[in-house]
């Protein structure tokens, strides 16, 4: 496992497009150490690595296929209603390829 350092915190932040202040980074170093410590205790639980990871509360088996109906649809205008800047049915963003 990666050691908890300022650099690792910043790497984790950049992956989710968040910038942190120095104070936030130093707070997180402390918090991560506590979390890692708790997880080390969990690694000592008997049998913890002998079971499959659980991704949902219980197994649900469905064996049906729905009809291929377009039952839910929304107009483009509605979808764009909350966007900041819109032109010709498109959201305006800075140019990707500069002139």
């Amino acid at each position: 496992m990666k050691k908890v350092t300022k650099e690792v915190i910043e790497e984790s932040a950049s992956k989710i497009m968040i910038k942190l202040s120095d104070d936030e980074v130093s707070h997180l170093v402390d918090e991560f150490e506590i979390i890692v410590h708790h997880m080390e205790k969990i690694s000592e639980l008997p049998g913890v690595d002998d079971v499959e990871p659980m991704t949902f509360p219980f197994e649900v088996y469905n064996s049906y296929l729905r009809e291929d109906d377009a039952s839910l649809s929304t107009s483009r205008d509605e979808l764009l209603k909350n966007a900041c800047e819109v032109k010709d049915g498109q959201i305006i963003l800075p140019r990707v390829i500069k002139k």
Binding site: I16, I35, I42, S43, N82, P94
Partner: protein
């Protein structure tokens, strides 16, 4: 009329008798909401509610929710009504559709009078982390104690007597903990029992629709309205919906109930233990078999860190769509990446950023085995252990908290502390296993309420509500309201 402590059923009867009209009820509720001093509201939907009352169809007046004012936690989409999740990220966002629970309530004739505050995007348990600041506990007139979260505003609105019913969401204990702090019934049915369509996802494998009511009967009738398959939510269950009121008054003779010693012994407040044990005596007097059982303490202590790792990791993925591009409070930038980064940096509160970072850290390639996957494996051990208990018992019964609502000044702003009390942080086991779980009031200490929790196996809501109803009869604590206006 002064209707502060009335239940849904009582309102319904008054409406049928013509002693009050839906318009009068809704106008009173809106007036109270406008005078709210607990920071319960993100938005008071006055115009929309009055319009809804006008459009009520009298042929539906036999529906129990007909004309009943309700509030909705602000992480449920409401068409044409602003929905922020108490996050600056979504300031100004107006959904173009309504969540399924909102549609079902409206179909029954319920009137949505407002959207309520929460810990930002439902992350946090104190009710102090929303973009509008702390929400206060109506039982504490000094505004120094928390009501708890994340469904803080919904709890405050019903507890202060503004409405008799409030929708919340529960990913770890976000309805069942504030219910204890506010003398309310807080109910989280089985995972999949109620559609989550339109609920902002926090941690998909743990998120549940949940709600507050003033008594167990109201909780049962609400489930009758809200339960059932919804094709818009692939995780909603096909399992048949029952009439959840039908077994409420059955006697509980022979019902088997387990109390977990390790939870009980970590309760800090001796008054809670004393009152709780008296309720056990009363359950036994009604010929229920109540046994104090042991579970692995280390496994129980792993519930909170396991919850933190799984929920934060899922949130990291679920909240990736909050980028300021399609909607939300967009910040300036020279490229679209800069816009996204600047928006997420400025608009997320500190706790959210740190939680998302925990998720990102847990999902780093080098860490995933020892953090995310191990937490998922630990979840299976936890659920296996509780499933074993449910093979022998109809329900687990324990205090819902270690103490009454703490002071706001004593709240830790850490995601996880080195030490914590099991009784304060065990309820997430019911989210991990998807179990139906209900908290209801059992007593007061120095004017502040405390509750106990009952949990049972998936889709056993009728049994759970039956035992809860008997417990309510034992305590006599129902239809409680914190203050007269």
């Amino acid at each position: 009329m002064n209707y502060l402590s009335k239940s849904i059923k009582e309102f319904h009867e008054l409406i049928l008798k013509g002693e009050v009209t839906p318009l009068e009820l809704v106008e009173s509720a809106i007036k109270l909401a406008k005078n709210d001093t607990n920071n319960a509201f993100e938005y008071i939907a006055e115009k929309e509610a009055l319009e809804q009352v006008k459009n009520l169809d009298e042929k539906n007046k036999n529906n129990l929710f007909y004309g009943i004012p309700v509030v909705i936690k602000d992480n449920f989409s409401t068409k044409d009504i602003p929905t922020t999740g108490s996050s600056n990220m979504l300031n100004g966002y107006v959904p173009i559709f309504s969540s399924e629970v909102v549609l079902r309530l409206e179909k029954e004739g319920a009137i949505i009078i407002g959207k309520t505050t929460l810990d930002e995007l439902a992350m946090g348990g104190s009710g102090t982390n929303g973009h509008k600041g702390a929400t206060y506990n109506p039982w504490d007139k000094t505004h120094t104690h928390i009501i708890g979260g994340s469904s803080c505003g919904s709890a405050a609105a019903i507890s202060a007597g503004i409405v008799p019913f409030a929708i919340g969401s529960d990913t770890g204990d976000s309805v069942r903990k504030p219910a204890s702090n506010a003398a309310l019934v807080g109910f989280k049915p089985t995972w999949g029992r109620i559609s989550r369509f339109g609920l902002f996802s926090f941690a998909t494998s743990l998120d549940h629709v949940a709600y507050f009511s003033r008594n167990v009967f109201d909780s049962a009738i609400a489930l009758n309205v809200l339960a059932g398959r919804d094709d818009k939510d692939a995780s909603s269950s096909f399992k048949e919906v029952e009439d959840y009121t039908k077994d409420l008054n059955k006697d509980i003779k022979g019902k088997r109930i387990a109390v977990i010693n390790q939870v009980l012994s970590s309760v800090k407040n001796p008054k809670i233990v004393e009152v709780f044990n008296k309720t056990v005596d009363e359950l036994r007097a009604r010929e229920a078999t109540v046994e104090y059982i042991d579970m692995d303490y280390n496994l129980l202590k792993s519930i909170l860190p396991t919850y933190i790792i799984i929920s934060s990791s899922e949130a990291t993925s679920n909240d990736a769509y909050l980028d300021g591009i399609k909607f939300g409070d967009r910040q300036e930038g020279n490229t679209f990446e800069e816009i996204m980064t600047n928006t997420r940096t400025k608009s997320f509160g500190s706790l959210i950023k740190r939680r998302l970072l925990v998720g990102s850290f847990s999902l780093l390639k080098e860490n995933t085995n020892e953090l995310f996957l191990r937490a998922q494996k630990c979840r299976r051990l936890i659920v296996n252990a509780f499933n074993e208990v449910f093979e022998k018992y109809d329900a687990i019964y324990c205090p819902a908290v270690a103490d009454v609502a703490p002071l706001i000044s004593d709240i830790s702003h850490n995601i996880l502390n080195e030490e914590f009390l099991l009784a304060d942080d065990y309820l997430a086991f019911a989210n991990m296993g998807g179990y139906p779980s209900i908290t209801l009031p059992i007593g007061f200490d120095k004017g502040l309420p405390f509750g106990a929790n009952l949990t049972s196996k998936p889709f056993s809501e009728s049994i759970l509500l039956n035992i809860a109803n008997k417990l309510e009869e034992i305590t006599g604590l129902k239809d409680l309201v914190a203050m007269e206006k």
